[in-house]
Amino acid sequence: MNSPSLAVRCQNVIKTYDTGDQKVTALNSVNLEIATGELMMLVGPSGCGKTTLISVIAGILDQDSGHCEVLGEDLLSMSNQHKLNFRARNIGFVFQAFNLLPSLNAAENVSIPLIINGIKRAEAERKAISVLEQVGLGARVKALSSELSGGQQQRVAIARALVHSPRLIVCDEPTSSLDHETGHNVMTLLKDVALYKDRTLVIVTHDARIFDFADRIAEMDDGHIVKVKGTKG
């Protein structure tokens, strides 16, 4: 077991995509530690492997070799079912494209992680509505995503990432589809509502305007972490 103060510990993580005619090494021996309760940003040029790395950390992609301990558990050695349960309980997702289910309203979308965790629909929706209130959408709980602005949709998505109180939230370019002000508001929300002492946030971004929100920033290039720097002190 690693120390409880580490949410993520990656050692020599290698991931190669085999597209048939060519192999692309997306992660070339990544070493990274993320502390519990911190907001870690992952930055770097396009194609350097940021998305691949958070996919491995979130347990939706298996690395080829190396160790990756997330919340004290080795994902690679887990059975499929165990990994599903692990994700359902511990991981929240925020995407660049929001990925809300268009035929469900905001409250129904937000209640999905609870339903996956076996909570009854009525209770799940009640909880979902209270989280929507926290993200400032208490008045739009019945709205479909087509009836919401981009910023509102991302707030619904954040509510969905929070509702089951996961210990790790992974975000891929959460502000890239939004204008500057909206992106700023979304980051404020993530920092204020999503982050707290037991919950870790990993945010992939190339949006320099939000770097200030990070506790630390890991810079990637060509499948490596080239530098990790703190923004404070």
Binding site: I60, R89, F93, N99, S103, L104
Partner: protein, 386 residues
């Protein structure tokens, strides 16, 4: 998750309706065409089922179906009457004769001659008069459809409906006078000719003079007599063919099944309905899954197991299948009901529900299977792809 599955399915109204309509079409064709087929096929033996009383039909051994008349000598009747286990045996004449109508035109009629004394084998339903009226001189009973149409007098207005033949009207059968004494309702047969009932002796006088005129011997078994045993005994004693009513019906039915293009034609219709329905519904269902693939990916990333996703897709398939099937079967029933007074053949036994239900299920399973394979193979990592 069921509720999410249903909302995902109905999220795209157009696709949802497309799937349901495809399945409705398939279910309609797979129910309605066989219903017409069964209706038609049951007409092949409806003359036999209309003749209610006798247990056993005796005829020439070469007869292949009910309209395939190979006449016997009258003496065969007495030989059959002499066989033990026979309660009674009656003669029946059945043949096509030309009738001359009042306006001088000729019409071929299916003439049925019944035993003079007992009139056994008469029409199943009398609309006017009674079977006993055949005892009156020159009396014949005609069926209502024939009376209204082919035997009717031409309309005074050109192109109008003919004036039906009525009780008291007369016609000529092979130069013999016949007077209508009754109107009957008979079940339609393949032969569209009017049916004319008369007595056996009168039928013989109408028919062209031949040595053999006896078409069938109708036999009632003694109470407690085993039919199988009795038919064997009749066959052994007379060298004729003897069938129970059911055997004769299925002989006739099988003849039409094997010697006409009817089953193939309907089989092709049903197959086409199945294929077209499967193509429309299956493809649209699969397309809808493809379009929702990202959503399935999100659910998978969030920890939904393949098993649950499989159940969600199955639920979607069961829902559209049930609706499409219900609509198709309902439309078929409506079709049959609205056609009940027409000449259209239509028979809708409950087994047909199983048949088309199995067909629709097959389409749904096929559609769901394609989608399930796609979703099970789906990598949850696609959720981060742009």
């Amino acid at each position: 998750m069921n509720h999410i599955a249903l909302k995902m399915l109905m999220g795209d109204r157009g696709k949802y309706l497309g799937i349901v309509m495809g399945l409705t079409f398939a279910s309609l064709i797979m129910t309605q065409q066989p219903a017409i087929f069964l209706g038609l096929m049951s007409r092949s033996y409806s003359f036999i089922s209309d003749v209610g009383l006798p247990d056993i039909w005796v005829m020439d051994s070469k007869v292949q179906f009910v309209d395939d008349i190979k006449p016997l000598q009258d003496t065969e009747l007495y030989r059959v009457r002499g066989i033990s286990g026979v309660e009674w045996a009656m003669p029946m004449y059945k043949g096509l004769l030309k009738a001359r109508l009042v306006d001088g035109t000729f019409q071929t009629c299916n003439v049925v001659g019944l035993d003079d004394a007992t009139l056994i084998g008469g029409p199943p339903v009398m609309l006017e008069g009674t079977v006993e009226d055949l005892r009156r001189s020159d009396g014949v009973i005609v069926d209502i459809d024939g009376a209204r149409d082919k035997l009717g007098k031409p309309s005074p207005i050109p192109g109008g409906k003919p004036i039906p033949l009525k009780v008291g009207d007369s016609l000529e059968l092979n130069d013999h006078r016949a007077i209508v004494v009754g109107i009957a309702k008979v079940t339609r047969t393949f032969q569209s000719q009017p049916v004319v009932y008369t007595t056996y002796s009168r039928a013989k006088s109408y028919a062209p003079k031949e040595r053999k005129l006896l078409s069938f011997v109708l036999v009632k078994a003694k109470p407690g007599q085993d039919f199988g045993e009795l038919t064997r005994r009749i066959r052994a004693t007379t060298g004729l063919a003897a069938y129970t009513r059911e055997e004769f019906m299925s002989l006739t039915y099988e003849y039409f099944m094997h010697n006409t293009g009817i089953p193939i034609n309907f089989g092709i219709s049903v197959l086409l309905g199945f294929i077209v329905g499967a193509a429309i519904a299956g493809q649209t269902f699969y397309n809808s899954t493809l379009e929702n693939l990202r959503q399935f990916g999100v659910l998978k990333a969030m920890g939904t197991s393949n098993w649950i996703l499989l159940r969600m897709i199955l639920l979607q398939a069961v829902l559209v299948g049930t609706i499409g099937y219900g609509l198709g079967v309902g439309l078929t029933a409506l079709f049959g009901y609205s056609m009940r007074h027409s000449i259209l053949a239509f028979k809708f036994p409950w087994q047909l529900l199983l048949f088309s239900g199995a067909g629709v299920s097959l389409i749904c399973i096929f559609a769901a299977l394609l989608s399930i394979i796609k979703v099970i193979r789906l990598e949850p990592a696609i959720v981060f792809k742009g």
